[in-house]
């Protein structure tokens, strides 16, 4: 399983390096979302800085939908999974490999977005450690749940609208927890500790990684 994970992750990342779809399309969209929020919240920086954690995670959520869709679109123009199913790869390995590739791309995106938030909204980061941990845990959870649903929707004609509809409600706790963790790290809000939220993000990631490993195989059997 781990060998297949490395194989699939390596393949996906190499394709991304060549085609640069996430870099040149998804990241700008996410940054654009930040800019649009700035238009919506008004030229005064105070409301923007207060809302920054939530806006960051909303942008991450939408970008993760795009990243997962791309992950399955590159398998075949219509997202068909025939190639993966015939390849002889262990389904759990395919799941972990694709999740890892999406997660790596998302982490790069988040670094850019963090810089964007600091620059555009004037946020001050007080605790880098919890930002990093929260970011990694949240990303892992989003990538895992997204890949699982992405595989389900891939190949269906309604996949572009079905995936967000399925994924975003499931990802809501990540938005909540990530925002609270960020608020603690940026010193905004009532100053509640960010620790329980980071733990929630870790639980979410662990749960969906485990679920995906177990259930990806049976899911592949759907034609």
């Amino acid at each position: 399983m781990w060998r297949d994970t490395a194989l699939v992750a390596g393949k996906d990342l190499r394709i991304e390096l060549r085609s640069r779809v996430v870099m040149h399309q998804v990241v700008p969209v996410a940054v654009m979302v930040l800019v649009l929020f700035a238009f919506a919240l008004g030229p005064d920086r105070a409301p923007m800085a207060r809302a920054a954690p939530g806006l960051f995670w909303v942008a991450v959520l939408f970008a993760s939908v795009l990243a997962v869709q791309r992950s399955f679109a590159l398998e075949a123009p219509d997202g068909a999974r025939d190639g993966l199913r015939l390849s002889g790869l262990d389904p759990a390995g395919v799941f972990l490999g694709k999740t890892a590739a999406v997660a790596v791309q998302m982490v790069v995106l988040e670094v850019v977005l963090t810089a964007g938030v600091v620059v555009l909204y004037g946020s001050h980061i007080r605790s880098y450690g919890s930002i990093v941990v929260a970011g990694l845990a949240g990303t892992a959870g989003l990538a895992a749940a997204g890949t699982l649903y992405g595989a389900l929707a891939a190949g269906l004609r309604v996949r572009e609208t079905l995936l967000p509809f399925l994924f975003l409600p499931v990802a809501a706790p990540v938005l909540l927890a990530g925002t609270r963790a960020w608020q603690a790290a940026l010193g905004i809000g009532s100053g509640s500790a960010g620790d329980p939220w980071v733990r929630l993000l870790l639980v979410f990631a662990a749960v969906y990684l485990a679920l995906g490993v177990v259930i990806f195989g049976p899911l592949q059997e759907a034609s």
């Binding site: 025939d82 015939l86 390849s87 195989g217 034609s223």
Partner: protein, 239 residues
């Protein structure tokens, strides 16, 4: 010897449409069977059912000893399929695509260069991204993937479409060789001049059912078969 493919009143419904409406088919190991029939007859669906990609809605099926209802995942890694759309990654080079497919199947990518050269994919083409190749070249790459993986059952969907004369000749040689090694080949084709010389039998499919079978006897393969007879235990007839 157990048949490579055995389907009994196989029914396959995709969505609401019965692609296969009761197919009885038996293919012996080492046989080359050509599927012919009009568009929409169910040739592609039949091939996909044999690959374990489409589940059976009714009837029974056993391919390479695997029950289609229970062991489809185990079957799929022993089968090789050349479909309408080549399942290749456009942003990877020819060599990278073949290497990935071989390693995914668990084999070592040591002899892919020879295969690529044989299919005229050597030299600079090796390092070209698949997305930049012509449709015919992409088919050759897909074929190269199959050849390096050497599956026990070959499912070829219109393999001659898009291939020039040289590639068609190479395909014919490849089919003869793998059959002599014991593989089974199922071919769906609209071009009888190309496929009949390779075939042992021709199965006619109309409306999702088998309507006719005839023995053809593979005239082009007999020559190769005679030479390989010494190494293959009696699974190929020589008239």
């Amino acid at each position: 010897m157990a048949p490579a493919v055995l389907l009994t009143t196989a029914v396959c419904v995709t969505g609401r449409f019965p692609a296969l409406a009761g197919v009885d088919l038996a293919v012996a190991q080492g046989e080359v069977v050509v599927l012919e029939g009009p568009n929409g007859a169910g040739k592609t669906s039949l091939l996909r059912v044999c690959a374990g990609l489409l589940p059976l809605t009714g009837g029974e099926g056993t391919v390479l000893g695997c029950d289609l209802r229970r062991d489809a995942p185990a079957l799929r890694r022993r089968v090789g399929m050349l479909g309408h759309a080549a399942a290749l990654y456009d942003d990877l080079t020819v060599a990278e695509n073949v290497r990935f497919a071989v390693r995914a199947a668990g084999a070592s990518p040591s002899h892919i260069d020879a295969v690529l050269d044989r299919l005229e994919l050597g030299g600079r083409v090796r390092r070209t991204q698949v997305g930049r190749l012509s449709a015919g070249q992409r088919r050759r790459v897909a074929l190269a993937v199959l050849v390096t993986r050497r599956p026990e059952l070959w499912l070829l969907d219109e393999p001659h479409a898009g291939l020039d004369a040289g590639a068609r000749a190479v395909l014919g040689e490849i089919v003869s060789e793998v059959v002599a090694e014991g593989a089974t080949v199922l071919l769906a084709s609209h071009e009888p001049e190309e496929s009949l010389p390779l075939a042992d039998r021709v199965v006619s499919l109309v409306g999702g059912r088998v309507v006719g079978v005839r023995d053809v006897g593979a005239p082009a393969r007999r020559v190769v078969a005679v030479e390989k007879l010494r190494s293959v235990p009696g699974s190929v007839h020589v008239a």
